[in-house]
Subunit: 337 residues, 2 copies
C-alpha cells in the first residue's frame, strides 16, 4: 500500500496557492491531510479541496508539525523566514520563490528536465523561475539530443507573473483606458494596459534584469552545463496568465526543423502546435489552463549558414507549469523517494 | 524662391492617410494644393488641411494630372493598378505598400538611413515595411559605425499594422472580453485582446512569414549589404499603434554599450531612452505620437565572449515613422531634388 502525505500550502490564497490546491486534487496527489496557510489577514477564509471545505490558518513557525510536504508560494522573504521551521519539523519545503534557487545544496527542478536532482535535497527543493521552466520544458530535450551552445530569448510575459494583483491591475486598468479614465499603476512600474514594459524584477549593473539573469543561471544549473550561453530580454505584455517566448537556438551540430519536431513530439510536457498553414502555432489564450508547454513556429535559422540554428516560439501557463503544477510535480517526485 | 508642390494622397481616409495629411501640415511641407483620393465609398468625406476643408475624390487613372507627388497608402493591389497612371502623369509616386519595394529600379528609402537612394528613382519610391523602418533608424547608424554582421529580432507589433480596422478590432474585442461576451475575430487570424499572435502576413515555405523576410530583405537593400544575416520572429501584440522590437546585434568588432549610446545620441530620428535605474526605457505608450524611434535597454550581450554583441530594445510609432512620417520625409527629399 502506498503512503499518503500531509501537505501544507503556504500562500494558499494567492494566485499560485489556489492553483496548487486544484492541481493536487486534479492529479490525485496522495494526500492524507491539507493545511492551508497564509498571512493573518487571510485567516478564516474558506477554500474547497475534494469537496471538503478547509479553513485558512495563520502561517506560523509551529504550523509544520506533522507536515510531510510544504508547498511555499508566499514570496522570498516569507520563504526565508520559515525555512528553518519547515526543515526542523522534518517536512520537505518545495519553494516557488527565488530565495534559495541558486544555493548549492538546494536542487532546482523541472521534473521533465532534471528529476534525478530531487534526491540531493537537504529539506528544501526550489521551483525555478516561471519563464525558465516554460523555456526549458521545450529546450532541454533538444539540448539532450543536439547540445545547446547559445540561446537568445525574448519573452512576452503575462500579468500573472505579478500574482493575482497583477492580473487584477491589467483588467481594471484596461477598463479604465477604454472609458478614458485616469489610471494609477501600482503593481507594475508603468501602465500595462495596451502597453509593454521591458522591465521585470530589478536591474543588475550589467544592464540585464534579475529576471533575465535567472534565465541564464537557472538554465545552467538545471542542465548541469556552465558552458551554455544565454541572453534574454524579458518584457511584460498585456496578457493574463500565459508566458510566451521567442527563442533563437544555436546547437553544437546541424539540426533541421524536422529533427526538432521529432524530439519534441515525444517530449513530456510539450505539445507540438506547429501547423502554420492551418494558422496553428503557440498562443497564450490556448496555453492558458493547459499543463503542457506549446511549441511551434519551428524553423531553420536563416541567419546562419552552418545549419546549427533553430527558431522556435513557445507558450505556457505561468500559474500552472510556471509555478503550481511544477511544484506539485516536484512533490510527486518526493512522494516516490 | 522655393517651389511649392501639388500633392495627392491616395488612401486619404485610412489610418496612415489621415496621419500623412497631419504630418504634411506639421512639417510645413511646401504644398501648393492637396488632393484627397480614396475608393468610391469614401467620396464626399470632408477632411481638414491647414484650416481648410477638403473633399475626398474618387481615385481614378486621371486623378494625377498636374500632381507632383502622389503619396499612396491604399494597399498593394491599388498601388499596382495606378502605378502607370501616376508615372505617366509625371508625378512621383511614394508608395507605402509592399508592391514595389524589392524592384531593382525602385529606391526603398528611410531618409535617416539611405537618403541618397531617392535620386535613382524612375517615378516610384517605396516606403519600407514599418518594422524594418523602426529597426533601421536605430540599427543603421550602428552598422555604419561598427558593421553589423548578424541580427536576431523579435517584434511586438501593434494593432495599427492592420490599419484603422485593426485598432478598432482590438478596442471592441477587449471590451467584449471584459464583459464576457462572444468575440468574432475578423481582421486578425485569432483573438488579439489579451493575446499574442506569432503570425503577421503569410507564411513562406521556409517557415518564416513574409513580414519576417521583409525585415531581412529590406535591410539588405537599404544598407546595400547582402552579407548581413537577419532572423526575425514577428508577433502581433494587444498594443494600439507603436511597434517594439527586441534586437540582438552582432558586429564585426567589439562594441560597448557606451559606444552604442554615443552613436545613437547623435543619430537623427533616434531618441535615447536608456536609464533603467529611473525606470526609463522604450515603451509603446511613450513612442505613440512621437516622430523619433525610442532606443534603450542597451547592454553588452552576455551570451558572447568576444564583446561584439549588443542587446537593445526599440519602440516607434507604427503609423508615423513606420508609415506616414517616413513617406512625407521621402517627399521632402524629392522636393529638394
Amino acid at each position: 500500500m502506498s503512503r499518503n502525505f500531509s501537505v501544507a500550502v503556504a500562500g494558499a490564497t494567492g494566485a499560485v496557492g489556489v492553483e496548487m490546491l486544484k492541481v493536487l486534487e486534479e492529479r490525485k496527489f496522495p494526500v492524507s491531510s491539507v493545511k492551508l496557510l497564509a498571512s493573518s489577514r487571510s485567516v478564516g477564509k474558506k477554500m474547497m479541496f475534494r469537496g471538503e471545505q478547509l479553513t485558512v490558518e495563520e502561517l506560523k513557525p509551529d504550523s509544520f508539525n506533522g507536515v510531510d510536504i510544504a508547498l511555499f508560494s508566499a514570496g522570498a522573504s516569507v520563504s526565508k523566514e520559515f525555512r528553518k521551521s519547515v526543515v526542523d519539523s522534518g517536512a520537505v519545503m518545495i519553494d516557488n520563490s527565488s530565495a534559495f534557487r541558486m544555493e548549492k545544496d538546494v536542487p532546482l527542478v523541472v521534473p521533465e528536465v532534471n528529476p534525478e536532482d530531487v534526491k540531493n535535497h537537504h529539506g528544501v527543493i526550489a521551483n525555478p523561475n516561471c519563464s525558465t521552466i516554460i523555456m526549458l520544458v521545450a529546450v532541454a530535450p533538444l539540448h539532450k539530443a543536439f547540445r545547446l551552445k547559445r540561446m537568445v530569448a525574448s519573452t512576452y510575459q503575462a500579468a500573472s507573473g505579478a500574482g493575482a494583483k497583477g492580473m487584477n491591475e491589467l483588467v481594471v486598468q484596461t477598463g479604465q483606458i477604454l472609458r478614458n479614465e485616469q489610471i494609477a499603476p501600482e503593481v507594475f512600474a508603468h501602465r500595462i494596459a495596451f502597453n509593454l514594459i521591458p522591465h521585470i524584477d530589478v536591474f543588475n549593473e550589467n544592464g540585464y534584469t534579475k529576471e533575465e539573469l535567472k534565465m541564464l543561471n537557472e538554465t545552467r544549473k538545471m542542465l548541469h552545463d556552465d558552458s551554455i550561453m544565454v541572453s534574454c530580454t524579458c518584457v511584460r505584455v498585456p496578457v493574463m496568465r500565459a508566458h510566451s517566448e521567442s527563442l533563437n537556438l544555436e546547437f553544437a551540430c546541424p539540426v533541421t526543423p524536422d529533427d526538432v519536431r521529432r524530439v519534441l513530439s515525444g517530449a513530456p510536457g510539450v505539445k507540438l502546435v506547429d501547423e502554420p498553414s492551418a494558422k496553428r502555432y503557440p498562443m497564450p489564450v490556448d496555453a492558458s489552463g493547459q499543463w503542457d508547454v506549446l511549441a511551434g513556429r519551428i524553423r531553420q535559422d536563416i541567419s546562419r549558414n552552418d545549419g546549427c540554428g533553430i527558431d522556435m516560439f513557445v507558450s505556457g501557463d505561468q500559474v500552472l507549469k510556471g509555478a503550481a503544477l511544477n511544484a506539485v510535480q516536484i512533490a510527486e517526485l518526493v512522494a516516490l523517494m
